[in-house]
Every structure is written in structure tokens, then in C-alpha cells.
Point group: none
Amino acid sequence: MAGTDKTRNQVLGPAPFVVLVNPQLGENIGTAARAMANFGLHELRLVSPRDGWPNDKALTSSSGANWIIERAAVHQSLTAAVEDASYVYATTARPRGMTKEVITPEQAGRDMRARIARSERVGLLFGRERWGLNNDEVSLADIIVTAPVNPAFASLNIAQAVLLVGYEWYKLEAASLGQETPELAALDGPGLQTPDTRPATKEELFGFFDHLERELDAAGFFKTADKKPGMLRNIRNLYARAALTEQEVRSLRGMVASLTRAHERRKENEK
Amino acid sequence: MAGTDKTRNQVLGPAPFVVLVNPQLGENIGTAARAMANFGLHELRLVSPRDGWPNDKALTSSSGANWIIERAAVHQSLTAAVEDASYVYATTARPRGMTKEVITPEQAGRDMRARIARSERVGLLFGRERWGLNNDEVSLADIIVTAPVNPAFASLNIAQAVLLVGYEWYKLEAASLGQETPELAALDGPGLQTPDTRPATKEELFGFFDHLERELDAAGFFKTADKKPGMLRNIRNLYARAALTEQEVRSLRGMVASLTRAHERRKENEK
């Protein structure tokens, strides 16, 4: 299936960004970039690539998707890499023991398209070569994407995972561009009606999480230090599922602030 | 997306066979076999592989899809490789100047499934690394399969082409096997993974709402009486969207209780 038309320029339209978390080999970054280019994805973000950045092997193995490698952004943490997004998809090979919705690449493609049509910024997370994303990382995402794969041979490398999700995104994008594809089905995703507000950015959401954690710490909510990470993960997961708006995040912060000052009010009432 | 379940045996059910025409590098044969294994394809036919057969590199680069490499059949000509098939799909990157129907991998997936359900033998042709299938070879096929790909970056290697067509085949196969895919789960409801817990009953949820309202009232959160109904509605809406589990409702109640007693803890710490 070789056949790039070199007379065409890259069209860098609105598209999901791709986050590779702790990628190990430059080759894998390059082949992931190539898969992105196949399907019109162009914004690559790297969280602490093991071998540093820039990486010559990433460039040479991208098969000419130079513009993606050259513009890739490096972040020190996953939270920093996704903070401008309103919705984040975590790709995993297998269901996790986590209360989070799981969808297919096909469903993700539809959902991403609907969100981008509403000018949302959305991101796709891919884990390390060896063991994918850890549970904390998954808990920062809104939803899990898992491809239907032969359970007796489920290993997909990063580029292949990018390829499948990118393909499902592009199928619909191509259709909307009038490029000939068959699947012109209704594209209205599971969109929320958000009157007078907008989806919260991850920065706003993480700000709420930090605020809540600080106050719960002060209140002695986390009984033991070893239980705290799991409890925090569960809390993040439940709020992530709610797909909060910016206004709701402000309300939640207001609630937390009120509750922690409740005793002052009580004393006033007793006067 | 690593995650093969090694306790499962390969199921070698009826599936399309894959023909690689004049493959050059053993590595590409191996990675194509790996992509086949991901999606339950298991019969590989090679037409005059350049470097002979067997080929050690094919085996080592198949990432464990040994059964496909070891059973691969070598044919001297494409006609010999497809003679037992009733229908053959030629994959190409671009439309050819040929009067032949062109379909997408998705349409091919549906068509293959329908044919195999009627006990037809069907085959998928993939061309050489450098320049794909020639026109004579395409003319031996019944139909052309072309994936929607960014026209300005259309190069897919053989394994990626196998991956996309295999994926579209397996999506439907998995559904028909009743294999639990996220897609099927989604039809039954919100497709949540709920480990060790169950969805909260409305009674539990409303109990949390009452608790929260009581405490927010005590804390003076609702500034004016006329705003309170709307604020409460927004709060209920956001928690309703999260589809809370019973355990999460208990956590939320625990958080509210902790936060309202935070001052006691603070005083303790000050002692």
C-alpha cells in the first residue's frame, strides 16, 4: 500500500494530539509519528522520553513524517502534557480494575470528531513499550480505549495502537472532507449540552484535585499513607467520568471551601 | 497495548487467508504474521519470497506468532496461491486505472464475513514492499481494497496494511463470537468496569445528596434562598453523570464528613 502523493501538502487541521508516556526507543517514537501522519494527526507530545530529545532515530524511523518529530513537545509530567485538553483518552490493551468507561477505537473516533467539531482540545495517551500506562496515568484520563484484539495474541506495539485509533479518527474525517469513504453514518457523539459554559480544561480539573487532596489531607481523610494513592485514584476516576464543565469545577471548589469553613458558620449561628 | 493472555489457546477458525506477493525482507513477513495473529488470521501464503523459505528473521520478528510462520505455504505463482479461493481482495494504496470496484477495509470486513459464513474460501493479497501489486496481479483479484489514508502521507507498510484489514475483519468476528468487546458492553449500558462493587441505588445516591445539602446549608454555601434550587440541580446533575458506584457514594459521604470536621483536626494539630 505504498503511494504517497508528493505533490500534496500536509494539511494540519484540528485533530487530537498524541501523548507518548515515557517512550523508550527512538524507533518507536518515529514509527508512531509515521502512523500519525498516515491519518492526519500532527501534534506529538512526549512525557520524559527515556533517551532524551531530540533523538535522531526517531527522525530516521518516521519515514518522512519529519514535521511531526520536529515539532514534538517534551513535557516533564503527564499532567503538564494534557492540561490544555478538555477530554483525554487512555489506550490500554486490557480492561483495568477501574471504574471507568471503556470504548472501542471506532467509538473513540466518533467521539473525538464530535468534540473537535465543538472546538474542544482532545488528547490520546499511549503507554510505554513494556507495560503501557500505569493506573495513576489512566486515572487522569476521561475514558479508556481498547481495541478488540485476539485475546490469545493481544500484543500491539505503540505504532500499531496509534495506527488503529488514528485510522478510526481519519475514517470519519475523510468522510467529512468529502473524501470517498463508505461510512457516512450519523456522527453526533455522546455530546453534552453545556449551556453558557464549556468543558473544564485538565488544568482546571487538576487544580480542583489538588485543592481537594490538600483539604482531605488536612482533615485526616486518608487514614493511612499506603491507602492514599488508591483512594485518590478512585476520586479522580469518579470526577473524570462526570466530564465536568468549567463552571462545575468552580462550584466543586466552592463546596470544598465552604465545607472546610463550616464550623465558623456554626459558631456564628450559635451566637 | 501489551497484554496477551498466555493461558488462552489460539483458535484457528475459518478466516481469510493472507497472500504476500514477492515479499522482500523476512522482517516484513514476520511483522505481517504478528498483525495477522492480532486479529485471528492464521493462514499465510507466500508467492516467491525473495530471500527463500524458511527464513529465520521472519520467525524472530513475528513476536511469537510462530504457528503462522511455521505453517506458511510457499507458492511459485499468484495464481497457484489463490486457486482454491472463491473471492480475492487486492489491497492497494491508490485507485488504479482499472475497471474494478474499490471498497474500504470496513466494507471488505463485512464482505469477507458474509462469504465465510457461506463457507467460501477468501484471500487477501498484499504486494511487495517497494511497489505493491502490479496490474496483472490486481486483475486476478475480484475487488480492490483501499484504506482511507491521508493522501499527502499514504505510505503503509505491509504489516500496517494487514493490521487494518485484519482489524476490520476481527471487529465483526469478535462480535459474532459473542466475545466481550467494549462495543457490545456499550450496547448493554454505559459499559463501565465496576470491580468489586455495584452501581449505587437511587436511595443511596439521594442519601448522599441530602447529606451534602444539609452540610452545605450549614456552611452557608447557598448564598440566597432563590439560587439554591438551581445550584442543587447542577450539583445533582454532575454527580448523576458520573454514574456512581455504591462504594463511591460512601467515599463521597466520607469526604463531606471529613471536610466538615477539618477544623477539629486542625486544632489538634495546633496543640
